[in-house]
Symmetry: C2
Subunit: 672 residues, 2 copies
């Protein structure tokens, strides 16, 4: 029998626990175990360390908190409610996991203010956090003055066993260690339970030794259930270590407090059940009813409101001093974090004419990036060890490294998924930074989890993908994309852009930048060629930005429409020329982006692809999957639905039918 | 000036080097640096340790060699040629990276005998190797007798920095350490160069410490360029350690021997160029001309032929003794490794009727797996920490663990990509094992690299994916697949199967097993529901195996065809019933697999979807992307092209239009 007078800490911690228990129980769905076990460490973190203003979740200099183990989101929602965020009321908590509630089943930053990133898929949150810490370090290096540190906050993570098993987290953690991101602190909820059961079944590595190898500062807290002092000391120690990220292994009991389900996977992912909820109340001496929070606890939590208001006020003062002393920097800083693009930035976009040399769109992409970088202070990024191939290096800056955080070229290493999650984190720092991440289009396969989350979580990221077809040649079928453009098009909210020449590449970046800072933010993926392509007559940035447009036409209603994207537009142009010489009325449509085209009004779309013109041929060096939408029953598609081959790119293209003769022959067949 | 008499080792090592240099030069494409740097360790391995028969690349008890750093494939091709494999002649080497040559740009097991797995995408090979070692351990535990060890071989890997940066390799390596796979030995070519330049730029972790944390035995060789003795000792040591996998960091110089490009990323991924090739010849004192191999070296290498023949002969004798003593085991072993399925295995497939309880296809999948496991000795697999959710646990066996390698349930942990690559490795052990790997359909995103490779490399794997739509409910949009089925359909050579009920689930497994052992092997991916579905009248294993079939029909030519897959077939059935009551002629087609349907003859396909019937409605709780193929301009698709929502599954399905009323309304609209 537990004494009825509990310390304020116990009251607060159990408040978190029981909000989670009750919410999951009411929804009859969810994950009570982690909130019950991690409540102590979360309380210590939020009560003693986390600097935030519940009434202003967007306060620039707040510490960032990420629950990487997103399934435990009732932990986060409980804290948001208890500390006084307006975004989560008690009613919202009662609506946990219900249609359009503010408390969805995994944390969604676009749904619930106070949630920084979208988690659920394991490994993403901790990797986003590397991006958040990266953004802080970068902005601090760029803007802080010795007497005015306006950028100064920590990034905290609560991560699970599952997070640390995922490869993406090892990638991002290796990067974090390499970069020495000293203001990143991870609390590892070591409850040695996962869905299958004990971690003994599959996860017996020495996690701290691995992290030591990754260059992190390591600590452990033996009793994460009741030893609040040790948790506090460990976090304080971690803050003191400024040249390494820190991980603290906090050993807890999942489902702590539940007599029959604690320390078992039974408490991981299902409601405890009425009887067990009652038994847990008894075991922990919790006399309060469903969703009832003791006033003392609420008062204690709500002190965060005054604390936060004061912290923000102090920062406002500091920033006012900064602006007074460093007017130019102050102006630039404000413009940046408000997401305002400098006026006239589009003037920096290169324009091309058919007289310009034929070039690979990956090269033109490099030219655009280099032209935009001085014009867009927020643009920064890098490649997963393919900078010379992706052409993403910005010559006017250096490498972002330890003690060189002001630079704008990231070296992500051969870590595509880590790169993706880090870029999402940089975007979600919400400070006007526009990150780009690059690799070969084929390796979008390695990072699809992060690409999808950029679309779902509304991250303003630019994905720069080169070597986009069999045209890349000898590297062969393991490297030649076939299904990739189609499969990326299928992701909602992601705009895929496959430019045909320099103007279309500039257009792609215009759109990508606008989407990155738009409302809502949205990601864009560029698909770029390895091989040289001519600059086309009739292309322009403005037309390309519509996603599809008439590149060239005959008089009157066309008999036939040739639709091309990227490297195949040239074939359409050549075939059209010949067909017109033979007296046919042919229109050439370049369609660099389905999504942008579909977003145009009906009148425009009809003007480009009139319904009445049913004879159409689409040409794209990728799968034909999905093209029926634009060519219909009377049309044809020239594509490739099988794996590629290791051979010189020109030969592969030629032999697989990507040549003018084949387009002609197909067109004539369609014309009948 | 180098002395013209070189040791036989130097002659051999330089033979490897110059074949690589010359082949890349001739192709003007490829990666000379790694072969030049890793030639010494590869020579020691192949000369002193690797047990193989060049004249029988399929010899069961051969050691397995994997070049995880697949871009360095000229290293492997050179060794295949030099040691006397028939699969790679000198002409083949001269055709490096040319159309349909046996020496493609990255190693392809289906192209070149002697190559065990397809590599190129980094991190895959070393992870496949965990699967190869897993297969060896499993078969050894099942079949070996104390006096007759017929399964006894090592798995060796040469891996690069890039391989070790990739998250997938950390996942698989953690699993290998957990499992104590003592016969897995990795040589880490530590040349501190990657495409971007020095690894100092991005990869500064203490790799050996990380691997120590992962439970591996660690060693290092300081001078991997010339200290052959140390390389040899390290491999010998590694073989002695029987309870841990081993990694040996061998420090080398990329492009060793090239005066101007050694130790630089310039030698990584491009031909050296005529002048540098000549300079390298001079530096290494190599007097032989293009593709010319000194006879002494060739003779030395070719001793592998006699060695291999003898090793195989000894093994054959051993196996003969085994069969004599242990006839039953011998018979079973032979049948298994020859890929022969036991006669009548299909009888074990459960059959269902509409009277059987409504059930989730994930549950029925579990029933099928449990029924098949005793009937198919090669079937084994597991889940990425979702066994209770995926229902993949086979009750008649235990967990595959250290000292329990005979068991058939794998615990992959939260490591989807590692699981994928490990399963590919198990399949590529080519011993009749049929692995299955399971997770939530949404997390195919995390392992697409491995899924694609299963299709490209012709691996007989079964991918078991559950929770396949918004029907899964409260976990919300981060977990609800939208674009996944379409994007997986777009992968060539992969059959995606979305069964509607128990019979179709059995049918899916029938097909999947046949594909796994077919010629060629091929993977299959199952998409299974979380929620209960009724068993449908008219379904059967045989019909489902055709990929699409008429579930129910009216008399004569239908006016309308309703096409459903998986959980939505029920809606089509219900709507058809109503429409028929209203006097309409309606056909219901269940289409569990596009790929299997397309593989049927034209007559069959026409009989199911007659061209003349243009009024069609397709219903699938996923993206509409690609369905135009089957519904045409006059048809309609009921799907979902936006992200899902966190709410109870039934509510989500209902509100997003997956209900009989909406199918009816859409059908009537189409009928006009």
């Amino acid at each position: 029998m537990v004494a009825t007078t509990q310390s304020i800490e116990k009251l607060c911690i159990n408040s978190i626990r029981f909000l989670a228990i009750d919410a999951v129980e009411k929804a009859n769905s969810g994950h009570p175990g982690l909130p019950m076990g991690a409540a102590p460490m979360a309380f210590v973190l939020w009560d003693k360390f986390l600097r935030f203003n519940p009434k202003n979740p967007q306060w620039f200099n707040r510490d960032r908190f990420v629950l990487s183990a997103g399934h435990g989101c009732m932990l986060h929602y409980a804290l948001l409610y208890l500390t006084g965020y307006d975004s989560v009321s008690l009613d919202d908590i009662k609506q946990f996991r219900q249609w359009e509630s503010k408390t969805p089943g995994h944390p969604e930053n676009f749904m619930t203010e106070g949630v920084e990133v979208t988690t659920g898929p394991l490994g993403q949150g901790i990797s986003n956090a590397v991006g958040l810490a990266t953004a802080e370090a970068h902005l601090a290096a760029r803007f802080n003055k010795p007497d005015c540190k306006i950028v100064d906050h920590y990034t905290y993570v609560i991560a699970s066993d599952g997070d640390l098993m995922e490869g993406v987290s090892n990638e991002a953690s290796s990067t974090a260690g390499h970069l020495g991101l000293g203001k990143l602190i991870v609390l590892y909820d070591d409850n040695h339970i996962s869905i299958d059961g004990e971690t003994e079944l599959a996860f017996t590595e020495d996690v701290l030794k691995r992290y030591e190898g990754l260059g992190w500062h390591i600590q452990s807290v033996e009793d994460g259930n009741t030893d609040l002092d040790s948790i506090e000391k460990a976090i304080a120690n971690a803050k003191e270590v400024t040249d390494k990220p820190s991980i603290i292994r906090v050993t807890t009991t999942i489902g702590y407090g539940s007599p029959n389900k604690a320390n078992s996977h039974d408490s991981h992912g299902a409601a405890l059940g009425k009887d067990e909820v009652a038994a847990t109340r008894q075991q922990l001496g919790w006399e309060y009813s469903e969703f009832e929070i003791p006033q003392d606890a609420l008062n204690h939590f709500r002190k965060a409101i005054d604390r936060g208001a004061q912290a923000e006020q102090e920062w406002n003062q500091l920033f006012a001093e900064y602006k007074a002393k460093y007017a130019e920097d102050g102006k630039n800083f404000e413009q940046l974090i408000n997401g305002e693009l400098p006026a006239g930035w589009e003037e920096a976009l290169p324009k091309y004419t058919p007289d310009d040399k034929a070039d690979a769109t990956r090269n033109q992409s490099g030219e655009v990036l280099n032209a935009l970088s001085p014009a867009l202070p927020g643009l920064l990024g890098g490649s997963a060890d393919l900078a010379p191939s992706n052409k993403t290096y910005v010559k006017s800056s250096g490498d972002f490294q330890k003690d060189e955080y002001h630079n704008r070229n990231f070296r992500f290493g051969v870590r595509e998924h880590g790169m993706g999650a880090i870029c999402n984190g940089i975007a979600h720092h919400n400070s006007g930074l526009i990150p780009y991440g690059a690799t070969f289009l084929i390796f979008t396969d390695y990072m699809r989890g992060a690409i999808r989350l950029s679309a779902l979580s509304r991250a303003g990221v630019i994905w720069v993908m080169t070597h986009d077809s069999i045209g890349l040649g000898e590297d062969g079928p393991t490297h030649q994309p076939i299904e990739h453009i189609a499969s990326l098009r299928a992701i909602p909210n992601l705009a895929v852009f496959r430019p045909a020449d320099g103007n279309e590449t500039s257009g792609a970046y215009k759109v990508a930048v606008e989407r990155a800072v738009g409302t809502p933010h949205a990601p864009t993926l560029l698909s770029l060629s390895r091989q040289k392509l001519p600059n086309l007559a009739g292309s322009s940035i403005e037309k390309a930005a519509k996603g599809g447009y008439v590149l060239s036409d005959s008089e009157g209603t066309p008999e036939l429409i040739l639709i091309g994207t990227g490297s195949e537009v040239e074939l359409c142009v050549n075939a059209a020329e010949q067909l017109r010489q033979e007296g046919k009325k042919v229109r050439v449509v370049s369609m660099p982006s389905w999504e942008l085209f579909e977003a145009q009004d009906e009148g425009y779309k009809e003007s480009v692809l009139p319904q009445v013109v049913t004879k159409r041929v689409a040409v794209e060096a990728g799968t034909t999957f999905g093209w029926c939408r634009y060519v219909g029953a009377e049309g044809a598609v020239i594509g490739i639905d099988h794996f590629g081959v290791s051979a010189p790119g020109g030969e592969a293209m030629e032999k697989f039918g990507f040549n003018t003769e084949n387009v002609l022959a197909t067109a004539k067949k369609v014309l009948g």
